[in-house]
């Protein structure tokens, strides 16, 4: 229990607002422990720092996400998981006061390069948000919107095909095939979230980012989405933020633990939940804070 006082000092509210926390001071090490890097990464992040105005939300994070894996990101709320995830398809560009520096690559191309256009980037890296946010349009229109704006199809029949295919992949087709033209907002919360997933899939992205996709859903809807993730991981690379450790344990192959804007540990999910390398990770998964 020697380190306990260390934790307490870490959670001293003054610590957050004051000088950036020096991990080494507590003998915790500045470097991420575990295996954040891999040889054949789909996306890799190097030395990422993110600021909201003067406040730093992400401190020097480096991490690789492998092709066709489900990477879970866990950590106490406010630790920067969403901020990190949104850096992966430059959604943070839409936030006025957000500043990103560091390197993020997708298939070895720098996505923050001056010449990189966010439109094709987001077609390749899709995102599903915490709160289901279907457009106030028909189910069909919701799914067809992405292919339409990217001009992926020229004929209506092709579009129909994409819509059906995406809805099937999101295992929503059977529930909505008779009411494709009724409003997407009329579906239940779980259905809406699957509609949002279908909408993301429809542009055939390579990576799907999910920011706590189940936090607004009931357990049954959550179970369906988790099943879906397992299926999707065969074709897509998935990075999921979750506040539920059980969910991370169920769906992911690797887990990254964030803490106050720092990436503390990255390891195989089983390892993280059975034998975490870092004290902070252990404290979190054993429920001592979070």
């Amino acid at each position: 229990m020697n380190s306990k006082s260390g934790y307490n000092r870490l959670f001293d509210p003054m610590a957050e607002t004051g000088q950036a926390l020096d991990f080494s001071q507590h003998g915790l090490g500045q470097k991420t422990v575990g295996n954040p890097f891999s040889v054949k990464a789909k996306m890799s992040v190097r030395n990422l720092n993110v600021y909201y105005d003067d406040k730093q939300a992400i401190h020097d994070v480096s991490l690789d996400i492998n092709r066709n894996e489900v990477m879970a990101m866990i950590g106490p709320s406010g630790c920067g998981k969403s901020t990190f995830l949104r850096c992966l398809n430059r959604m943070n560009d839409t936030i006025e006061n957000c500043n990103v520096n560091g390197e993020v690559t997708l298939d070895e191309q720098d996505i923050y390069h001056k010449k990189q256009d966010v439109v094709p980037l987001r077609a390749r890296v899709g995102i599903v948000f915490q709160k289901p946010n279907p457009f106030p349009k028909s189910i069909y229109e919701n799914v067809a919107y992405g292919p339409k704006v990217h001009g992926l199809v020229s004929r209506r029949a092709q579009l129909d095909e994409i819509v059906e295919d995406s809805l099937r992949k999101a295992s929503l087709w059977d529930e909505v095939k008779d009411r494709l033209f009724s409003p997407g907002t009329g579906l239940s919360g779980g259905q809406q979230q699957r509609l949002c997933i279908a909408r993301t899939i429809a542009v055939s992205p390579e990576v799907i980012l999910m920011d706590e996709p189940c936090s607004a859903l009931d357990p049954i809807a959550t179970a369906r989405i988790e099943e879906l993730m397992a299926e999707l991981s065969q074709n897509f690379t998935i990075a999921i933020v979750t506040h539920s450790m059980q969910q991370a344990a169920r769906v992911s192959s690797r887990t990254a633990y964030f803490h106050m804007g720092r990436l503390i540990e990255v390891n195989d999910t089983r390892r993280v939940f059975t034998n975490p390398e870092h004290e902070l990770t252990e404290a979190y998964i054993t429920g001592r804070f979070g």
């Binding site: 006025e96 457009f135 106030p136 919107y145 992405g146 704006v149 009329g186 542009v203």
Partner: protein
């Protein structure tokens, strides 16, 4: 220990539910009073509206009817001074006063053999509207065959006669108009003979202003208002939306944007007459545009409505949930696509509501139009944006200032037309909001 002390305290002090029940009656009374205040406020507004409408309608409805008398007109070419047969242009300059005069005297002679004095003659002639000649000219131009024939024609009477006849409908007591005893008896005789009728006053809708109330209409003012409204809608709607979209979606948050925002809010509060002065200085003074034309009026009203539209559009755009924006951006929509496909359609009901309220205000605006000379006496109906014209509210203002009694009812009638206009515009706003709101659910 703690439990015990808790128990002993409940023994002395009444239980929570007792306290709640004791206060319940008081709360219910307060609740009831609160509702009564609300209902009272609504009733007050409603009664005021009712009084206004009753007053305007009771004063104004008469203007929608005009009195005519039936006379046997002999289209005598000599008296008309139409001498060359077949030359239709002469009809324009023919002397219709002569034939009306003949008809009146003949009509009188048929009933009373007594000769008319010069004064009587003048009094008799003044019973017919000076505009009657135009209706005769029209009859003759439309069917030249009546030349040299005697035909029964309904002629509009002078506003004083109109007034007298309308007062008879209300019992006739206490008539204080300008008709002399003699004139009243002539009119009474016509009524007895069934030569008098009331018809729908088309003149009111088809002609421009006139010094003679029975010939005065709202057409030129109405057209002027319409043209101005077109200019205002055509300019302020797109400009307002573009400004609002830019400020909400594109503009960086900095001092300049703050400054612009403060100024737009200030402009919305600037009295309208200032906009009139501005228009006078800029459009007429600097750009040398003509006075009294709907184009300038529309420009001034555009300046006046812009702040309202920008403010309400910005509020409507701001109210679009950011989750929708995120969803579209996340799919790779470009900024313009996000705005055009999602933000604007969702904001449209709010934008339209604000815009139509702005247009309705513009339609009812008088003061700035006075500054740019739209207060002139305009008889001709404007044919385009550069024709001098008046505007409905200005026309109302002008008529309300006229001494003739018949203008009182025309003032009220014009107010009714303006109100009908405004009510239908607001109805349109409600309908659009409903429709657009539903199509996006």
């Amino acid at each position: 220990m703690r439990k015990a002390s808790h128990k002993s305290s409940t023994a002395k002090v009444p239980s929570t539910i007792d306290l709640v029940n004791r206060n319940l009656a008081k709360r219910k009374r307060a609740e009831w009073r609160f509702r009564v205040y609300g209902i009272g406020a609504i009733l007050f507004g409603f009664i005021c509206l009712l009084i206004l409408f009753t007053d305007i309608i009771s004063k104004g409805h008469g203007a929608f009817f005009k009195t005519q008398i039936h006379l046997q007109i002999h289209f005598n070419p000599q008296r008309l001074q139409v001498l060359q047969p077949g030359a239709i242009e002469q009809f324009n300059n023919a002397n219709y006063d002569n034939v009306i005069q003949d008809a009146l005297f003949a009509d009188n002679a048929r009933i009373s053999p007594a000769l008319l004095s010069a004064v009587d003659k003048r009094q008799l002639l003044s019973l017919i509207s000076t505009g009657a000649v135009y209706s005769l000219r029209e009859t003759l131009t439309d069917s030249p065959g009546v030349l040299n024939q005697s035909v029964g024609v309904w002629l509009t009477v002078d506003d004083d006669v109109d007034n007298y006849v309308k007062s008879l409908a209300h019992g006739g007591e206490g008539y204080t108009g300008r008709l002399s005893q003699q004139q009243q008896s002539w009119v009474n005789r016509w009524i007895e003979n069934g030569q008098v009728r009331q018809t729908f006053n088309t003149t009111f809708f088809t002609s421009g202003d006139s010094r003679e109330p029975e010939q005065a209409g709202i057409r030129s003012a109405l057209m002027g208002s319409l043209y101005m409204l077109l200019v205002t809608i055509g300019l302020s709607f797109p400009i307002g939306i573009a400004a609002a979209v830019y400020l909400e979606e594109y503009a960086p948050i900095n001092r300049v944007t703050d400054f612009i925002e403060v100024n737009i809010n200030n402009l919305a509060a600037v009295p309208s007459i200032i906009f009139g002065l501005l228009g006078l200085a800029i459009f007429i003074g600097f750009f040398d545009m003509p006075r009294s034309v709907p184009l300038v009026g529309g420009l001034v009203l555009t300046l006046m409505t812009l702040p309202t539209i920008i403010i309400s559009s910005r509020a409507a755009i701001k109210a679009v949930p950011s989750s929708i924006r995120d969803a579209a951006y996340g799919l790779g929509a470009s900024k313009m696509q996000v705005v055009l496909h999602h933000v604007l359609p969702l904001a449209m009901p709010g934008v339209l509501t604000g815009a139509i309220i702005g247009f309705a205000q513009a339609l009812g605006e008088t003061a700035p139009l006075l500054m740019i000379g739209m207060v002139a006496f305009i008889v001709d109906v404007p044919a385009d944006l550069m024709d001098p014209s008046s505007a409905l509210p200005v026309q109302i203002f002008l008529w309300s200032d006229s001494p003739e009694r018949a203008f009182v009812e025309r003032t009220s009638a014009a107010i009714m037309v303006l109100l009908a206009f405004l009510i239908s515009m607001n109805g349109l706003a409600v309908w659009l909001r409903h429709r657009l709101g539903r199509s996006h659910q």
